[in-house]
Every structure is written in structure tokens, then in C-alpha cells.
Symmetry: C3
Subunit: 138 residues, 3 copies
């Protein structure tokens, strides 16, 4: 492995419960595992659709920030929901709030059959955090 | 944000209607949001399966080209359809046409439950457009 | 196309049967098409859930290795299954075996409606293989 590759497990993040890690840095990019609305305090799903979806984005943000990337440094989001009609408006509202009205990253939104733990929402984000900017682990 | 990061909104492209952008450049890569067969003139879905799927690829191509990447610079495509048996042969035929018989980029094709607007096809593409090649916005 | 971009077709890999390639190298990254449990000898699906899922990872690994990347250089995996309850435990067990107990790459796991050939499992992997490390085609 190169010096510019590392597996991420920042303080305050959720705990992976299986054979996966939260994210990686590789070169100038940060790749984050699909995040769901799990409360990092209890490692349990947050109650309420809006709160749960917001928590998923916050879980992603915490990992990105640990490598010096903010939400506006997202190069792409892929969003998975289990009901397009029901959850897409909530996803839009939560992103409007978290990105302060834009601009927003490119996004692909898909309705899939099932997520882990019968969950309703998952977001997979990729971020740009150039090493030459002197980004370091906070 | 770094000089080597930007959100893309080239002339002639479709208009994003929600909390998302068409694409980003980050370093040497171009990340494009899932593209569907929307006519950039009317911002409405193209009629006809073949024409609509071709339009989705053309929408992706226009954004890639704005950063100096052509279809043969795609590093990966992820294709989402709502009926594998029905649409995969069309996807193959359209790609054969657009890539002039190959070589083709790596592709993952998946049948999902639903796409936005009850659409039938979406393609998420990533491209390589090295800054050192002097790529500039056309 | 740049010198640092190439389409991958290493010896011993499965044969793409449609309008797609196995993978690309672009800069320091290797992008691999969704891999399924196809036996490269016969180009047919391996029998048995565990064996088939393991074969899919091995197919991915062979392509990554041809560019100097090992499984621990994966920056992200996206896993698609057609039955979350049935296949996720197998996926975990196979990854535990192949990654020798970890650490593991970030992973997103999704249940989708259908895969090509009515298959049960597909894995899309991205790897880091810096050119500056002198990685060459084996």
C-alpha cells in the first residue's frame, strides 16, 4: 500500500458491524461506504424519515471532514431509496438544508428492492480532498 | 475548494430540476450524474425506447465533452434499467452504435425497482480527462 | 487518450460477451466492471452460492492484480444481491476469507430486482494502484 492510501475510522463515526470499513482515502479522493441514518451514539437507526435521512448525510459528512472535505467537495452522490415517491422529496429537502440552497453535487437516485436492516435510505458519496492542499486528519 | 474542482453546467445540456448538478470535474476525472433520455431542448423525456436510451448517452457525452473527454475516455459506466430482458439488448445496440463497435468501457448493468419519473433507463458515467493534457472547457 | 488510460483484458480473465470491457486503468485508479461468478475456463456460471460469490471476487481480483493492485487496495466495493437476507451472510463470510479477517474496504450492499443472466450476486470494485509505485502489467 502507498502512503496516500488509508482506511478511515474517524472519532465519532458509526461502528461498522460487518466486513466493511467506513471509507478510504486514495490519492486526492475520499471514498465513503453507503451511509444510513444510524446514530453514532447508540449505533441504532434514528426514528423518523426526515431525521434518519439527515443523519445518513451527517454520517457521511463526518467521515469526509476527517479528511478535510466538506459537503461541497462531493464529486458525486449515489442515493438509494426503497420508495421513490415517498422519499425523494425528503431527500431533496434535506439536501437543500445541508447544502444551504446549493450548488449541489451530481446525484443519481434509484429505487432498489431492499437495503440492509430493511432501511429506507442510503447514500454513497465520493469526495475530492487534494493532498496538495495540505489536508490532514482533523 | 481547489482550482481543480468545479461543478459543470455546459451550454446545451439538460436543466437539473432538483437538488443536484450535472457533473463535476475533480483533478483528472469527470463525474457525471445519472443521465436519462431527456431532450435538452424541451427538458422532457424523449419518446421511444431506442431514442430515449440514445439520448441519455448523448446527454452524458455532452457533459463529458465540455471537459475534453469523449465516450472512449469513460472509465466506467453503471447502467440502471427497469426491465433487464427488454432493455439490455437496446442498451447494447445503442452502445455499439455510439462506440462504433468498440472498445467499450467497463459496465455494470442492474435492474432496479424504479427510476425518477417512472423512467426506463439511466446511465452514470465517470470519465478521465487529465488536466496535464491541457483539457479546457469548450 | 492519454498514456495513463488503458482498457484491461488480462490473461486468464473471463470474456466479456457484450458491449463492455473488464476494466480500465486511468491515472492511479483501476475501475472494474461488475463481476459475477463466472468460471473463466468455461465462461459459465459457477454452481453453488458460496462458490459463485467467491468466484466473482476472484474475477475482480485477477483484473486488479494485472495492474498491481491487491484486494487490500480496493477503495470501494458496491455489492448487488437479489436477496439481502439470503446472500449478505455469504458475502460477509467470503470477504472474511478473502481479506483474511480485515481490514476491509468500504462497501455498499444493495438488493436489486435482477442481475444479468438471473444471477444472484455482482460486485463492482475500484482500486488504487499508483503509477508512481512502478506498477506494471504482470
Amino acid at each position: 500500500m502507498s502512503d496516500s492510501f488509508k482506511i478511515l475510522s474517524p472519532d465519532g463515526a458509526i461502528e461498522p458491524t460487518g466486513t466493511w470499513s467506513l471509507g478510504t482515502r486514495a490519492g486526492d479522493f475520499v471514498f465513503i461506504a453507503g451511509m444510513r441514518g444510524i446514530d453514532p451514539q447508540s449505533n441504532e437507526l434514528v426514528e423518523g424519515d426526515v431525521a434518519r435521512i439527515r443523519q445518513a448525510y451527517k454520517n457521511m459528512e463526518l467521515i469526509a471532514k476527517s479528511e478535510g472535505a466538506s459537503l461541497t467537495d462531493a464529486v458525486r452522490l449515489t442515493v438509494f431509496v426503497t420508495d421513490m415517491e415517498r422519499y425523494r422529496p425528503i431527500v431533496n429537502a434535506v439536501q437543500e438544508e445541508l447544502w444551504s440552497g446549493g450548488p449541489y453535487p451530481p446525484r443519481t437516485i434509484l429505487e432498489v428492492s431492499k437495503l440492509n436492516q430493511e432501511d429506507i435510505f442510503e447514500v454513497e458519496g465520493t469526495f475530492y480532498a487534494p493532498l496538495s492542499n495540505g489536508h490532514v486528519k482533523i
